[in-house]
């Protein structure tokens, strides 16, 4: 204890704290060396972003915890907020083994909605491709994402093989993958063009892609909003598809997008009308009209109905 501290009557430090101070005072090699001046220090090993090691989240304790979270609070929250109408799981009846679920993306709610909607063989052996720069930005968000939704980091801002290799390796190990090929949430309620990730992984691993259409999540928690507003949603699973002979990843990605667009059409019209339009390549585009932003917003029409359905009151004079 310092002389000043004794003079002003501070109590004596606890023994444990004193021990830490003594430990920190130990010289090298008992403690880490300091870096000499004029020497560039070694770059610390990255532990976030695409370099985050998620392997712990696929071990049994983490899987059990995740199953409890998904079946408990997550399912409860999804039912309360989104009242999902789940369709088309019967199209997967003859499908066995790993698959890639490729869905459109409007909201952070998409992942919980999809995870609570997956049919039984895939429900608890699935990983989610999540933006490395967003979900794995800090160690806390990375750990939470890995634990709660089984996320693995996917690079979306730069080209790297690490994410794709990890995803392919896990698919080969029998895991299924949920991926949002648009690469991010919709900024304006319309879809974005599908990127080639899901198609590439399907070509590389030989597993089928299940197109999935999610409807209504944008009304609940669209990009830019932080407080959810309950509404109704639907999850529609399509028939699994595989790349055809000679079909490269770009063309396959476009086909996945068309399949999701046909599912969207099925939800907004009916199955047979949607199939007729799909065969005639006339399914309404997911990405909306190419025009000024106000016209795109206008064209959303009924789709944004939920967002405007706030109860109106007379002014309280």
């Amino acid at each position: 204890m310092s002389k000043l501290a004794r003079q002003i009557g501070l109590p004596k430090l606890p023994a444990a704290l004193s021990l830490i101070r003594r430990f920190r005072a130990l010289p090298f090699p008992y403690r880490a060396p300091s870096t000499p001046r004029g020497v560039r220090p070694l770059r610390p090993k990255a532990r976030t972003g695409a370099d985050y090691d998620t392997s712990w989240s696929r071990r049994t304790p983490a899987r059990m915890a995740r199953a409890a979270i998904i079946e408990g609070p997550m399912r409860l929250a999804v039912s309360g907020l989104a009242a999902p109408d789940r369709r088309g799981a019967d199209r997967l009846a003859a499908t066995k083994g790993s698959v890639i679920f490729a869905a459109n993306h409007h909201s952070h709610l998409d992942t919980p909605l999809l995870l609570t909607s997956l049919p039984d063989p895939w429900k608890h052996k699935v990983i989610v491709g999540a933006a490395a720069d967003y979900f794995f930005g800090t160690r806390v968000t990375a750990a939470m994402s890995s634990l709660v939704i089984g996320a693995i980091p996917i690079e979306r801002t730069k080209v790297g093989r690490r994410s794709a290799d990890l995803a392919a390796e896990l698919i080969d190990d029998g895991w299924s993958l949920v991926i949002f090929p648009e690469g991010g949430r919709s900024p304006d309620g319309w879809g974005q063009p599908f990127r080639g990730g899901a198609a590439f992984l399907a070509s590389k691993t030989g597993v089928p892609v299940v197109p999935v259409h999610l409807d209504g999540t944008g009304r609940i928690l669209r990009k830019g909003r932080s407080i959810p507003r309950p509404s109704t949603t639907s999850v529609t699973f399509g028939r699994p598809i595989v790349p055809q002979d000679g079909e490269n990843a770009t063309r396959f990605a476009a086909r996945i997008e068309r399949e999701v667009a046909a599912l969207a059409d099925e939800v907004s019209s009916d199955w047979y009308t949607a199939r007729k339009r799909a065969h005639a390549s006339e399914s309404p585009d997911l990405t909306g009209p190419e025009s000024a932003s106000w016209r795109r917003a206008w064209a959303l029409g009924d789709r944004s109905r939920g967002a405007k359905s706030r109860k109106r009151h007379w002014p309280n004079l």
């Binding site: 369709r87 019967d90 199209r91 009846a93 009916d270 199955w271 199939r275 007729k276 065969h279």
Partner: protein, 538 residues
């Protein structure tokens, strides 16, 4: 589990000679079960074959069947934009019990419609070909067709039940060479193409019977649903020895010449009725192979069911959806397709059996084709036992002429008032007068068939047609003529006597009673059914 030998290498059917070490044998008993010890050294048990493996990729098999039909053109080439297309499908009486989703009909119809969508066909109707059966409810239609198909067509009124009593909805196509009338649903008859989606659970179904009966009315059906025809059908599960089928085939000729173009799609399923695992799987195993878990499951299930009220038991059993798998699908020309279907059907069901028996026993389960989501009334007990189970043979009946049939079923004096209104009157009025099929056919059939109230209920409620209980009785006519006595174990005594049969409290009592007819120490054969089997008796 792919390595499960029951799935990869299913065993064929078996005829087991009962000896002293044979354990008590399972008898279905309505919504319950009995275990009965059969006399050693003079009894045998016929076990069904284990379920054949299902097609590995049913959707692809269906697609291939539609693209490469038998003696017909590929389906896409028959579909044109302005055409009138009708898709008829078997009703909920098939399969039994109802199968788990997705139903085979849904799988097929979705692919057919997808091809129609590609061709730009707009005028499409889907008709449940239920002949004189009760109408299907929305839930039942959704179960068969799936929500996608139902939601796409039902709002426009393009999915509906066949109405055989609609004066504007039926047409006459002509007469057969035996002067049998041929009538057909008008929409189907006037279509450019009629696609029939069938599901064969037994060899009786399919072929021309699909359209000639399923889309017909009383004036056409009465030519083969009668006592004389049934007495000539030995058995009606064997198409080539069945007058029922000969008549349907003659009507088929008329349809072929004067009706719509038909594209027939037929399917067969395996007999995976109770699954490989789960509480019901024990019912699909041979008794000496029940392990500790099976025995515990069975005891719990039996004790639980014995304590439950009947309505609760029915709810449980009606909730069971069988995990049937598709074993074959073929499309094209009606007759060519049906020949292939029968091969697949027999492959699953036939069990070779040598010689007939003095006493035939079987336990009747909770369901028959006419009480799906309903009540198995005494008339249906007779129909299932003497109609269906007795006729599950090829060659000659399992029981000798003058032999005894012992069935096990509670046979409650109970009817579903919505589904079976005419059955109630048939049971009360007709059977109290006579149980002779020929007599009741002559005396009462026309009256019930033309009763305005029954017709109203058939058309607007969910009732079987007024004449239907007669057909149930005719179904057992051949057995009634063949057998010396029918005994029901564990049945409601009054109801059993009203049927003209004898009640017995226990199997021992029943065997004692049987010996009065067939003599002491008779030979006994037990048909271990379901899962379904068909005896190939030589």
């Amino acid at each position: 589990m792919a390595s499960d030998p029951r799935r990869t290498a299913p065993r064929p059917g078996l005829v087991l000679d009962v000896d002293r070490s044979t354990p008590p044998i399972l008898f279905h008993h309505g919504e319950g079960f009995r275990l009965e010890k059969l006399p050693a050294d003079r009894s045998r048990i016929i076990y069904p074959a284990e379920p054949l493996p299902g097609l590995p990729d049913p959707d692809e098999s269906i697609r291939q069947a539609l693209l490469n039909p038998i003696e017909d053109d590929p389906l896409p080439s028959l579909l044109t934009p302005g055409m009138k297309l009708t898709i008829a499908f078997d009703d909920l009486s098939l399969p039994l019990p109802s199968m788990r989703k997705p139903d085979i009909r849904q799988r097929i119809i979705e692919q057919v419609l997808d091809m129609a969508a590609a061709a730009g066909v707009d005028d499409i109707h889907l008709i449940a070909a239920l002949a004189l059966h009760r109408r299907m409810t929305e839930d039942e239609l959704r179960h068969c067709l799936g929500d996608r198909v139902y939601d796409a067509f039902a709002p426009q009124g393009a999915i509906y039940n066949h109405d055989a009593e609609d004066p504007d909805g039926m047409v006459e196509l002509g007469l057969t060479r035996h002067d049998e009338q041929v009538t057909m649903n008008a929409r189907a008859a006037e279509s450019d193409l009629l696609i029939y989606v069938n599901l064969n659970i037994v060899s009786m179904d399919g072929g021309w019977k699909s359209t000639a009966t399923g889309l017909s009315g009383y004036s056409g059906i009465r030519h083969h649903h009668n006592v004389a025809t049934m007495l000539e059908s030995k058995s009606f599960m064997d198409r080539h020895k069945s007058e029922l089928h000969h008549s349907n085939w003659r009507q088929g000729e008329v349809i072929k010449n004067h009706g719509p173009r038909i594209f027939q799609i037929e399917t067969t399923i395996n007999n995976n009725t109770f699954g490989y695992d789960g509480p019901m799987s024990v019912l699909q195993k041979r008794e000496w192979e029940w392990n500790a878990k099976d025995r515990a499951t069975f005891i719990t299930m039996k004790k639980g069911l014995d304590m439950m009220p009947t309505t609760a038991k029915r709810a449980i059993f009606n909730g069971w959806k069988a995990p049937y798998e598709l074993t074959s699908v073929q499309a094209g020309d009606v007759e060519a397709v049906h020949d292939v279907t029968l091969e697949h059907c027999f492959k699953q069901h036939l069990v070779p059996v040598e010689g007939q028996t003095d006493v035939l026993t079987f336990g009747l389960p909770y369901i028959c084709p006419y009480n799906v989501n309903s009540v198995m009334n005494p008339i249906l007990v007779m129909c299932l036992g003497l109609g269906y189970f007795f006729n599950m043979y090829r060659g000659k009946p399992l029981v000798r002429e003058g032999g005894v049939l012992i069935m096990s079923h509670p046979t409650p004096w109970e009817f579903h008032p919505v589904h079976h209104p005419s059955y109630i009157d048939f049971f009360e009025q007709v059977l109290s007068d006579t149980t002779d099929p020929l007599e009741l056919e002559a005396k009462y059939e026309k009256q019930f068939a033309e009763d305005e109230w029954y017709i109203h209920l058939y058309r607007n409620s969910y009732a079987y047609h007024g004449v239907h209980p007669f057909y149930m009785w005719y179904w057992g006519a051949s057995a009634l003529q063949h057998l010396g006595r029918v005994i029901i174990v564990g049945g409601d005594k009054r109801a059993v006597r009203r049927l003209g049969f004898q009640p017995a409290s226990t199997m021992q009592d029943a065997l004692e009673m049987a010996s009065d007819v067939v003599g002491p120490a008779p030979s006994i054969t037990h048909l271990h059914n379901p899962p379904i089997l068909m005896a190939d008796v030589t």
